[in-house]
């Protein structure tokens, strides 16, 4: 960042050019599991030693998603779709939580609101899509880009960094998949896994096909940041509150999610919407 200064003669991480360039990427790598696991309350503070392991999958996946989206010029809808693909990869194919009723003593995501075609409950699917698609992937990306506004539009990784991220994400996939199987000895039936894999592929394909909303295409002004933030807080809070393992809970949560998506699309076409740094940021390498 241009406004950061190092004391004369003092070498800090951010004063080394390569490290300085990689700082937002490293930050996002760890911010993703901090938000997705620790802030959610799924991992307690005394298990913080697991953070590097969690970051392999959460951070590697999120960083990869951001990098691909920024390099291809895709928008936030693509981030959400890739986040949903990540959710199904992690919870459907790797730890298979949405298919294993005994995964946790705290909840059963399989037999409540069960739908035969899905092979699991809508409650479980909706829960993982929301927590990972929104909070594990999209929110950390936006927050870290907010912390680095001058570099919000550009890729954060060079070729080596990209290769390292792919390797770390691959390692995370192997460790979570093999580690969970070693703990649970559970393997979902292959038709369920095959359908999940198809869903992952379709979500990834949709992410690269979906058109990016054009800010300013609608003849109206974007809401003030305070209003946008308050609406996001209220809608996501209501979503989390009403999402219960019952058909009523799932139905209410789907309605709230639909309202939130419609409002987001409505705002994203307004004048002045978008990454708040668009007025002064440099174009990315695409």
């Amino acid at each position: 960042m241009s406004d950061q200064r190092s004391l004369p003669g003092v070498t800090t991480l951010s004063s080394v050019p390569g490290m300085r360039r990689a700082l937002p990427a490293v930050g996002l790598f760890f911010l993703s599991p901090v938000v997705g696991e620790m802030l959610l309350g799924a991992t307690s503070i005394d298990a913080i030693g697991l953070l590097p392991l969690l970051a392999l999958l959460y951070g590697g996946g999120t960083l990869l998603i951001r990098e691909v989206v920024r390099r291809t010029g895709c928008g936030w809808c693509s981030v959400l779709l890739l986040g949903a693909a990540y959710a199904l990869l992690e919870e459907g194919l790797l730890d298979q939580m949405i298919f294993n009723a005994h995964y946790s003593g705290n909840y059963d995501m399989v037999y409540v609101t069960y739908v035969p075609f899905l092979g699991t409950g809508v409650y479980g699917v909706l829960s993982v899509l929301a927590v990972h698609g929104v909070w594990s992937v999209t929110v950390p990306i936006v927050l870290m880009e907010g912390m680095m506004p001058d570099r919000a539009d550009e890729p954060w990784l060079g070729r080596v960094g990209l290769a390292v991220t792919v390797a770390l994400f691959g390692l995370g996939i192997v460790m979570v998949g093999a580690g969970t199987y070693s703990d649970t000895h559970f393997m979902a039936p292959w038709p369920k896994l095959a359908r999940t894999a198809v869903a992952v592929v379709l979500l990834v394909a949709a992410a690269f096909r979906i058109r990016r909303p054009r800010p300013g295409s609608a003849d109206r002004d974007a809401p003030r940041p305070l209003l946008a933030g308050a609406a996001a807080f209220v809608l996501t809070s209501v979503f989390m509150k009403v999402l219960q393992p019952t058909w009523w809970g799932v139905s209410a949560a789907l309605v709230v999610a639909a309202v939130a998506l419609a409002l987001g699309l409505h705002w994203s076409r307004a004048r002045g919407w978008g990454r708040p740094t668009c007025s002064r940021s440099r174009p990315g390498r695409r």
């Binding site: 901090v34 938000v35 696991e37 620790m38 802030l39 959610l40 309350g41 799924a42 991992t43 307690s44 503070i45 005394d46 298990a47 697991l50 936030w76 946790s104 705290n106 929104v134 909070w135 999209t138 929110v139 936006v142 927050l143 880009e145 907010g146 912390m147 680095m148 506004p149 001058d150 002004d221 974007a222 809401p223 003030r224 940041p225 305070l226 209003l227 946008a228 933030g229 308050a230 609406a231 996001a232 807080f233 209220v234 996501t236 809070s237 989390m240 987001g264 705002w267 307004a270 002045g272 919407w273 978008g274 990454r275 708040p276 740094t277 668009c278 007025s279 002064r280 940021s281």
Partner: protein
Amino acid sequence: MFAVAAGATLTYVWVGFGQTPDQGSAGPVNLAGHVVLAVAAAAFLYVAGKRVRLGSGSAG
């Protein structure tokens, strides 16, 4: 967009206080951890929010 993410982050702050962790211990340690995380999240949003406002006055 930042404002929307900030709102969603604050939702996780209160949701986290009601969760039973799958990993690590529950009880006072978990509660203290959440207090620390809540303060850290607020500080992060404050600093990033200031940087975003310096970048532009636009919404989101």
